[in-house]
């Protein structure tokens, strides 16, 4: 089977050239409540929402050394919502002037036969997990606090076990490329969450 043409270039289609600005941190389970309490105070005046998502990561190995990764996510607690297909580019640490990790990102809402489509295209599932947590919003900033659950039997989301004793905290903004000012807002917001959680730009390459 011939591999479909896949480019490793950042996806720049038409007007869509969005970047995700990201800060990450984590809290232990014990301090989750106080973090949520503070987030309720800081974020927009909306009902706090929980989510339960199932994420699957698909790989496509072409001639290139590194595979092409796509992430699919579906909401388990809100049936009827479209699936979410996401491409994330290579994260750039940037210099000190930029306070957040930046990566290319493409978001697409899809129908639920997405996995079949991807498998037909030659993708194969690399790993999957369940994310359960809370989502907040402040302006264009999105704050998600969630715990990752390991799926014990592949394909079945009924049997899960928590991966760790802590919650992952992510502060992200999706903005057109070049708008580095948003990272200043993110930094000042992250400052307000200290010392409950220290949100930093974490280079995934260093952790490998």
């Amino acid at each position: 089977m011939e591999a479909p043409p896949v480019t490793m270039m950042p996806v720049t289609g038409g007007t869509i050239n969005m970047m995700e600005y990201l800060l990450q941190g984590s809290v232990l389970d014990q301090s989750l409540e106080s973090l949520l309490h503070r987030l309720r105070g800081l974020c927009d005046n909306m009902e706090p929402e929980t989510f339960l998502d199932h994420e699957m990561v698909f790989l496509l190995k072409g001639q290139q050394a590194s595979p092409f990764v796509l992430r699919t996510r579906r909401s388990m607690d809100k049936p009827g919502t479209p699936w979410h297909l996401r491409y994330l580019g290579q994260p750039e640490m940037g210099d000190k002037n930029r306070h957040a990790l930046v990566r290319n990102c493409v978001d697409i809402a899809t129908s639920e036969n997405l996995t079949d489509f991807l498998v037909e295209m030659g993708f194969r599932m690399d790993h999957e997990f369940v994310a359960k947590g809370h989502v907040f919003r402040k302006g264009i900033m999105k704050i998600v606090v969630y715990k990752i659950f390991r799926i014990l039997i592949s394909g079945s989301t009924d049997n899960t076990e928590p991966l760790s004793l802590s919650y992952l905290v992510e502060l992200s903004v999706v903005a057109p490329a070049g708008q580095d000012m948003v990272s200043d807002d993110m930094r000042s917001f992250a400052e307000q969450l200290k010392p409950l959680v220290h949100l930093e730009k974490i280079d995934p390459k260093r952790l490998m």
Partner: protein, 588 residues
């Protein structure tokens, strides 16, 4: 005396016997003179040994030193000899005290000798000059203690005094003015109603409706000030409040949205200023208003500004057949030809200039309060919409946005479906629609009522009854019209009409389900009602003929040629009397 130093005169007491007692007979009993040894013992007893130690050390050696040298050998022997005696009569022996003193002196001498001999070696003991400060050291702590005690006592006294002063002051204050409230409790109360935050040493509050979903860019910040410029000695005014608020200058004063409908368009030249500062300000009270009312008015000004800004933006954007005009603080639109809807923002500030102009202009009150109220309601709906459209994304990684818009891709919406998702009507369109209805409702309804009434009063035979319903929609109201003949209400109920007065038209629903649409022209309704009445007459004749036993020869609802008119054609009936002698034909 100094002239004869060489001559020594020794004076001795006469060796007379001391008289012990004189008897009654004059005989004298003499004391036996002391023997030499007795005398010596007496003298020895008199020696004050302590004198030497306390007195000068130079005097000591002559009496004691001589004795000291004389006696060691003999003293030591005496001691040993008389130890036995001491045991038996220690106090009676006259030399006892001398011996004791000498003995202690000897002990001391021996100790001194030993010490000196040790010191001489410099091995085990050395002598150092003693610093003579033991006495002041002893005194100092006492003095210090005294001073510190004094100080702390004074401090305590001061605190007590201060407290007492404050207490008495507060008592006096509370007696003088019970409504006196302190800044902090006022701040607490302010905090319960308004959003506050601390920036530096200032306390800033938020007037805007942003948290309620407003997108108006005005920051709407006010500052909380502590009102300190009062004298405690003076009598505090009744409405004194320790907390004051400073609102932005452009939000000061009071504002309202004025909506009116006029028939003919005024000259464009004086547009915009007509309604400026129309309402004279109510006489402000001598004191500053309470912060709550101050903030509420300021917030109202902000809301009015937002409504007006939204309306004028829409007025410019929306393309209608007759363009909307935005001049200064007025928006003019023409819902019907020859009719003018004007929405204006009246903002009266507190300065005297505007008050002057306010007193000059007094135009008749032509407010449409319902519309003004509805404008406020609409903007709040608009706010709510922006809030509720901010749905949280599910799954959580998805971007923000409308959920239904996200569904558009996967479900392959077409253009019509997508455009139906967009918010369709703006504030201005809605209010114009309402204004049209108000016009129809207020004027057309009035005219409808007037038409019906005039017909009812003019025409006696078929009676017209109109039942207006009290409950109305914003865009619709209805009236039920019954046409009856007096005295025959029971047998003839042919015509019952339901008139729905909508925005631009009147929909008439017949009892048989026919729907006729009339325009807002007065004449049309009148014609229609007249034709309905004539039909009723024909129906009444028909019913009456039945009751009276007349034979109906013919009946037609629609006479003449051509298609049936919507409001109904002429109808005719022919009836014959029971015996067939007479026949009547009625045609309307």
């Amino acid at each position: 005396m100094s002239g004869v130093p060489s001559v020594r005169i020794s004076i001795e007491s006469a060796s007379e016997k001391h008289v012990q007692e004189v008897g009654l007979d004059g005989s004298e009993t003499y004391l036996q003179p002391l023997s030499m040894s007795q005398n010596l013992a007496r003298l020895a007893q008199r020696i004050d040994f302590s004198q030497g130690s306390s007195g000068s050390e130079e005097d000591e050696p002559s009496p004691g030193g001589g004795g000291g040298r004389e006696w060691p050998g003999a003293g030591g022997e005496n001691d040993e000899e008389e130890e036995g005696l001491v045991k038996f009569q220690p106090s009676l022996w006259p030399w006892d005290s001398v011996r004791n003193n000498l003995r202690s002196a000897l002990t001391e001498m021996c100790v001194l000798y030993d010490v000196l001999s040790i010191v001489k070696d410099k091995k085990f003991m050395t002598l150092d000059p003693v610093v003579q400060e033991s006495i002041p050291q002893k005194q100092n702590p006492q003095v210090l203690q005294l001073i510190s005690k004094k100080k702390s006592l004074a401090g305590a006294a001061q605190i007590l005094l201060k407290g007492a002063e404050r207490l008495s002051k507060s008592v006096a204050e509370s007696q003088e003015n019970k409504r006196q409230r302190d800044f902090n409790s006022e701040l607490l109360r302010l905090r319960q109603h308004w959003k506050l935050r601390k920036v530096g040493d200032k306390i800033l509050g938020d007037l805007s409706y942003k948290s309620a979903g407003s997108l108006f860019p005005h920051h709407g910040t006010f500052e909380v000030i502590k009102n300190t410029d009062i004298d405690l000695d003076k009598k505090i005014p009744e409405d004194y409040c320790p907390l004051d608020v400073q609102i932005p200058s452009d939000l000061e004063g009071s504002a309202y949205i004025k909506v009116s409908i006029q028939k003919q368009s005024p000259d464009i030249g004086d547009l915009g200023t007509v309604n400026l500062f129309k309402r004279p300000l109510p006489k402000s009270k001598p004191g500053a208003p309470h912060w709550q009312t101050k903030l509420e008015t300021a917030q109202n000004v902000l809301l009015c500004k937002e409504i007006f800004a939204q309306l004028s933006r829409e007025a410019v954007q929306i393309k209608s057949q007759i363009p909307h005009i935005v001049v200064k603080n007025q928006i003019i639109s023409q819902p019907f030809p020859g009719l003018q809807l004007s929405i204006s923002l009246c903002h009266s500030s507190n300065d005297k200039k505007s008050q002057k102009s306010a007193s000059e202009k007094q135009s008749p009150e032509d407010h449409l309060y319902v519309l003004e109220h509805n404008l406020h309601q609409l903007i709040r709906e608009f706010h709510k919409q922006t809030l509720s459209s901010n749905m949280m994304p599910h799954p959580a990684s998805a971007p923000f946005g409308l959920k239904r818009m996200r569904l558009a891709g996967p479900q392959a919406f077409d253009k019509n479906e997508i455009s139906s998702l967009q918010p369709s009507e703006g504030l201005l369109e809605k209010i114009i629609k309402q204004a049209k209805h108000i016009w129809v409702w207020g004027f057309l309804r009035f005219r409808t009522a007037r038409t019906i009434d005039s017909l009812a009063s003019r025409i006696e035979d078929p009676q017209i009854q109109a039942h207006w319903s009290n409950i109305n929609d914003v865009y619709e109201s209805s009236v039920k019209v019954l046409i009856t003949s007096q005295g025959y209400e029971q047998i003839c109920k042919s015509i019952q009409l339901q008139l729905n007065i909508g925005v631009e038209q009147i929909r008439v629903v017949h009892r048989d389900g026919r729907v006729i649409t009339l325009s807002h022209q007065e004449q049309e309704l009148q014609d229609f009602l007249l034709s309905q009445m004539s039909q009723h007459q024909v129906h009444a004749v028909q019913q009456l003929a039945k009751v009276m036993g007349w034979h109906m020869l013919s009946f037609s609802n629609h006479m003449g040629l051509g298609p049936v008119e919507s409001i109904g054609n002429a109808s005719a009936i022919t009836v014959a009397s029971p015996n067939g002698d007479y026949s009547i034909s009625v045609r309307n």
